[in-house]
Amino acid sequence: MTSLNASLLASSAVMPPPALCFEGVAFSHEDKLLLGPCSFTLDGIGPTLVMGPNGAGKSLLLRLAHGLLSPTEGKIAWSGEGRPRQAMVFQQPVLLRRSAVANLIHALAVNNIPRRVRSKLALDALERFGLSACANKPARVLSGGQQQRLALARAWVLSPQVLFLDEPTSALDPAAIKAVEAAVREFHQRGTRIVMTTHDIHQARRLAGDVLFLSGGKVREHTPAEAFFNTPVSPEAQAFVAGELLE
C-alpha cells in the first residue's frame, strides 16, 4: 500500500486511482467454483455498483478486488504505479472497544501518520460525517447507522483512492441509509473510486455511475448505469431489473 503523506492529507482531493484489471479470474473453494472465470476492467471514478441476486458472488468479487483473497486462477492487477491506497467498509461495521475518535486515531496510528496530527484529522472526519457529538462515546454503543458512518469516517481519514463497500446499508433503517449514501457521495466528490455491492436496485439507481452485474458467479454485464437500467442486455439482467426473483 502506498504510504500516506501528511501533506497530502491537508488537501481534500485524492490522486485518481489506477485501473484495476481482472484477467480470467476465478475462485474455487473445496473444488467448488464460486466465481468466474471473469475478465473486466474498473477504471474511471464510478461509482461502480456490483449487483446481482444473493449468492451471485458479489462479496467474493469485492474481496478479491481489495486483496483480502487471492484468486485460484487468473490475474488481478493494478495498472500504472501499482497498488493504490484503499479502504473497505463491511456490512457489519467492525469497531474496537474504545471511543469513536479513538477508533479513528488507531487507524491513523496503524498507517504511521504522525502523532501530532492524528487528533485533528480524526475530529475533522467525525464532523464531516455528523458524529462530533459521539466523539468520546464508546463506539459500540452507537446506533447501527452511526457505527456505519463511523466506519466510513475511519475510511475517510486514510484518504483512500478506492473505497470498497459490501452491502453497507442492508442492516439499516431508511434515515440511516440516507446518511450513509450521502457519505458515499462525499467520497465520490473527493475523487475516490467507489466500488459497492448492493442487492437494492433502488439504491443502485440512486448511486450508480456504472453497474457490474453478476449472476451465478459470472459477470453478465458491465455497462454505464443508464444503459443498464433502461436497456439491460443479458436475460439475467433483464429479469433482475424487471424485479423478478433469480436463482
Partner: protein, 232 residues
C-alpha cells in the same frame, strides 16, 4: 470446630498478628508477581499462536491446554530439580527463596494465561481479521490491538491465573521449603498447622486466605465494570 475456626480467623484478623501479616504479604507478593510475569510472557504467546499458522500449531495448542492441569507438586519438583545445586541452574542459589516460588508459580500460571488468551484472540480474529487486513495491519501489529480489545475477558483470565497461584501448595512447598519467616505462605502455613493437629487455626488461616482472594476478585470486578461502561 467450625465455629471455633471462624472465631480464630476473626481474632487473627482483629489482632493483626505480626507473623500472620508477614505471611499474607509474602503470599500476595509471590502470587501477584508470578501472575504478572506469566501475563507478560503468556498473553503475547497466546496471541501469537492465534495469529500465525505454523507446522505443529495444533500440537502446541493441545500441549498448552493440557498444561493448565499441570499438578502443582510436579511443577514444583521440576523447578526444584532445575534450581537444586546438583541441577543446571544451581549456581543461581535461588532454591528456598521467594524467587524460586515465583518461578514455580509462573510455570503453573503461564499455560492458563496462554491457552485462554489464545482462545479469546482466535475468537476475536474471526470478527476482526478482514477489517484489520483492510486497514493495512500486519499480524504483529494486530497483536497489541487484539489483546487490548480483549482486556475485559483477559481480566477474568488473570483472575483465574491468580486463583490458581494463590491456591496451590505443592509447588511453593517444594521449592520454598516452608521456612519460617522466609518462604512460609498462607497455603504452606495451613498445611503445617494441619500437620500439627491445630485444625481450628488451620481452618482460620484458610478463611483469611479466602477472604483475601475474595477481596481481590471484588476489586477487579469493580474496576472491570467501571471501565467496561466507558469503553462499550
Amino acid at each position: 470446630m467450625e465455629n471455633n475456626a471462624f472465631y480464630v480467623a476473626l481474632s487473627l484478623l482483629v489482632n493483626l498478628d505480626a507473623s500472620l501479616f508477614q505471611i499474607v504479604v509474602l503470599s500476595l507478593q509471590v502470587s501477584l508477581l508470578a501472575v504478572l510475569i506469566a501475563a507478560v510472557l503468556g498473553f503475547p504467546l497466546g496471541a501469537a499462536v492465534a495469529l500465525w499458522r505454523f507446522p505443529g500449531r495444533g500440537g502446541v495448542i493441545v500441549v498448552l491446554n493440557a498444561l493448565m492441569g499441570l499438578p502443582p507438586v510436579v511443577a514444583g519438583l521440576m523447578v526444584y530439580l532445575l534450581l537444586s545445586r546438583a541441577g543446571p541452574l544451581g549456581e543461581l542459589g535461588f532454591l528456598f527463596t521467594p524467587g524460586a516460588m515465583v518461578i514455580a508459580q509462573v510455570v503453573l500460571v503461564l499455560p492458563i494465561l496462554a491457552a485462554l488468551s489464545r482462545q479469546k484472540v482466535e475468537e476475536m480474529l474471526g470478527e476482526y481479521r478482514e477489517q484489520f487486513v483492510s486497514l493495512g495491519m500486519s499480524r504483529g501489529r494486530m497483536m497489541p490491538t487484539l489483546l487490548w480489545d480483549a482486556r475485559f475477558a483477559l481480566l477474568t483470565v488473570l483472575l483465574a491465573g491468580f486463583g490458581r497461584a494463590s491456591a496451590e501448595v505443592g509447588a511453593v512447598m517444594m521449592v520454598g521449603g516452608n521456612i519460617d519467616g522466609v518462604t512460609r505462605v498462607m497455603t504452606t502455613a495451613i498445611v503445617l498447622e494441619t500437620g500439627k493437629g491445630n485444625l481450628p487455626l488451620a481452618l482460620g488461616l484458610g478463611i483469611v486466605l479466602l477472604t483475601l482472594v475474595m477481596l481481590i476478585n471484588a476489586g477487579a470486578y469493580w474496576v472491570g465494570e467501571r471501565t467496561r461502561r466507558r469503553a462499550g
